[in-house]
């Protein structure tokens, strides 16, 4: 029987679930968010530190600790590989693109140029119960950036 879940559990996702890039606490940090997915118990605590170059805010470092399903942990790992070095505005653009992709139920073509490895999560779009898992760390980062915007 063909793998019925091949679209969901891309090799890259299973690899990242084990790799856990960026796992750990960073200190100092500018903002921290702790998010839970109450239906399944996924948890992530994410810290972000910003720097400013040429008047533009950038993600300097990002660290996370968490537990949960492979989708939630892999997406935190992919995010932690992508975000450092990016301008805050660019990070926000990626988070929005990721959200749009995952909520599309497969209707949106993934933008590989923008999302990089995160396009591996395109298959999640066909499993609506798992969208929250895949977005958990990304939403944590978004909320951390929102908090910094307010200050």
């Amino acid at each position: 029987m063909a793998d019925p879940l091949a679209g969901l559990y891309q090799e890259l996702i299973l690899e990242h679930a084990k790799l856990r890039s960026g796992e750990g606490e960073i200190d100092p940090f500018d903002a921290e968010r702790h998010l839970k997915n109450p239906t399944c118990g996924d948890e992530v605590t994410l810290r972000v530190r910003l720097s400013e170059t040429h008047g533009e805010a950038r993600v300097d470092a990002l660290g996370w600790i968490g537990q949960g399903c492979s989708i939630s942990q892999a997406s935190a790992s992919v995010l932690a590989e992508q975000a450092p070095g990016l301008a805050v505005a660019a990070v926000r653009e990626r988070i929005e693109a990721m959200r749009e992709l995952l909520r599309s139920r497969g209707a949106v073509e993934p933008d590989e140029a923008l999302l990089g490895d995160a396009v591996a999560f395109a298959g999640v779009a066909k499993f609506p119960m798992r969208v929250k898992c895949a977005m958990l760390a990304w939403v944590a980062l978004e909320e951390a950036l929102d908090e910094l915007d307010r200050h």
């Binding site: 019925p4 879940l5 969901l8 559990y9 299973l14 084990k18 239906t39 399944c40 118990g41 996924d42 948890e43 537990q67 949960g68 399903c69 492979s70 989708i71 499993f127 798992r130 898992c133």
Partner: protein, 428 residues
């Protein structure tokens, strides 16, 4: 404790019964459905669906009011439903009142006990005070924990609990040791929705009553699956949900033993539950009406009564025997697997027709996704029992729960896919 000496349902009989459940022929994921989530919500037979449809299309009217013929017919159906449901659980009809679901029923008991503390309604026999204790188990469903947390908080009483062991099991002796003169309420699940442990109710009731405490039974996982007689058990209050016993959603049942029902103030007041109302005061009808403010979901109650008729026709002892055998098959099968941890009583020990497992190195949601891909609807998560899962050292477990329509082949298929979960996810 009763043992399942009754003859279980034959394979042929189970196949006959399955034909009554239209949804079992569905293929929601494009593969045949293997429904192993009856512990969360059960499926409905045609007979219950048709009874509800017949009521809605032929007898629907407001009950206990109005003088027209249709209202009389509706009232007959409504009270007949109460009688049949009461008989099913060994209760008198006056001891049965309606709730939205079991959570609502358990909340009602706790809220009513809180109401007994109000200045205008202080009932010294029921009021809780600082120094009093409410006793639960560490394995409770949140529905039988949060209402007691809040009642303790509001009254100054102390919430205590019997701890579970590494398998998630508590012992009767440990619970009995916590019952003291200070204990006012003992609230426990008859059958755990996670571990399948079956509580020994009789000695707990005896000790609680000797100490002057009430016993509240969460019967959600027992009433649908085995013969239960509340009066024989001697509990003071009990709750169960229609949607877990072949009935429609949105209706639950609250059992209040006669003495408690007479003494307990209602949590909600309003229409249909009074004798006389003035601008400043009201006089309540006796139980059960005083616990039924407002219009009740009559068609759903009729549907639940039809579900009860169905269960009785099949025979609760036979259903129990069938499910106990499936529970043992699940437990034995899971326990024999490498790096799969069975939660709850060990194989061979008494358990209900369900089993929860922890797959080493694979999160329950990933395990559930693979099961789902094979058409297997199992439950993954904390099953509304976070303290129990915390004690087990995991955020989530994977649970298979059986009912009268579950086959051995379905259980075996679950075990087969479960045995491949670690390899599929490349767990180290």
């Amino acid at each position: 404790m009763t043992t399942a000496i009754e003859t279980a349902l034959t394979e042929e009989r189970v196949q006959q019964l399955r034909a009554d459940f239209p949804i079992l022929a569905e293929q929601p994921g494009g593969v045949p459905l293997i429904y192993l989530d009856s512990g969360a919500t059960s499926q409905q037979p045609r007979q219950a669906l048709e009874a509800e449809w017949a009521f809605r299309t032929q007898r629907n009217a407001a009950v206990h009011r109005g003088a027209h013929t249709l209202a009389a017919l509706a009232t007959d159906d409504y009270e007949s439903a109460r009688e049949r449901i009461a008989r099913f659980v060994g209760a008198r009809p006056t001891e049965i009142s309606w709730a939205m679901n079991a959570t609502d029923a358990l909340n009602s008991v706790a809220l009513s006990l809180g109401e007994a503390n109000r200045a205008s309604a202080v009932d010294p026999a029921l009021a809780l005070r600082e120094g009093d204790e409410i006793l639960v188990t560490e394995a409770e469903h949140h529905a039988n924990l949060l209402p007691w947390q809040r009642l303790a908080d509001e009254t100054g009483a102390t919430l205590r609990w019997v701890e579970v062991d590494d398998d998630g099991v508590w012992t009767t002796d440990a619970l009995l040791a916590l019952i003291t003169e200070r204990t006012r309420v003992v609230a426990i699940a008859h059958v755990s929705n996670v571990t399948g442990q079956i509580a020994e109710v009789e000695p707990i009731v005896a000790a609680a009553h000797a100490a002057g405490a009430l016993v509240v039974l969460d019967a959600c996982q027992s009433v649908p699956h085995r013969p239960v007689d509340f009066r024989a058990l001697g509990v003071d209050a009990a709750a169960f949900s229609s949607h877990k016993m072949l009935g429609p959603g949105g209706i639950g049942v609250l059992y209040l033993a006669e003495a408690l029902g007479a003494a307990l103030p209602p949590a909600r007041v309003g229409g249909s539950m009074i004798t006389t109302v003035t601008m400043t005061e009201h006089e309540l009808l006796p139980a059960p009406q005083k616990f039924e403010a407002g219009t009740q979901p009559v068609a759903s109650i009729v549907g639940l009564a039809a579900a009860v008729d169905y269960l009785e026709a099949v025979g609760m002892p036979a259903i129990e025997a069938h499910e106990v055998a499936l529970g043992e098959r699940l437990a034995a099968g899971a326990a024999a697997m490498d790096r799969i941890r069975l939660v709850g009583p060990r194989p061979g020990a008494e358990r209900a027709g369900l089993a929860s497992v922890i797959v080493d190195g694979v999160h329950a949601h990933d395990a559930g996704q693979l099961l789902d891909a094979h058409g297997i609807a199992a439950r993954v998560g904390h099953h509304c029992a976070q303290p129990l899962h915390r004690r087990l050292g995991t955020a989530a477990t994977t649970r298979a729960s059986a009912y009268l329509y579950t086959t051995e082949a379905e259980v075996d298929r679950f075990l087969d896919v479960l045995s491949g979960v670690r390899a599929y996810f490349g767990a180290a």
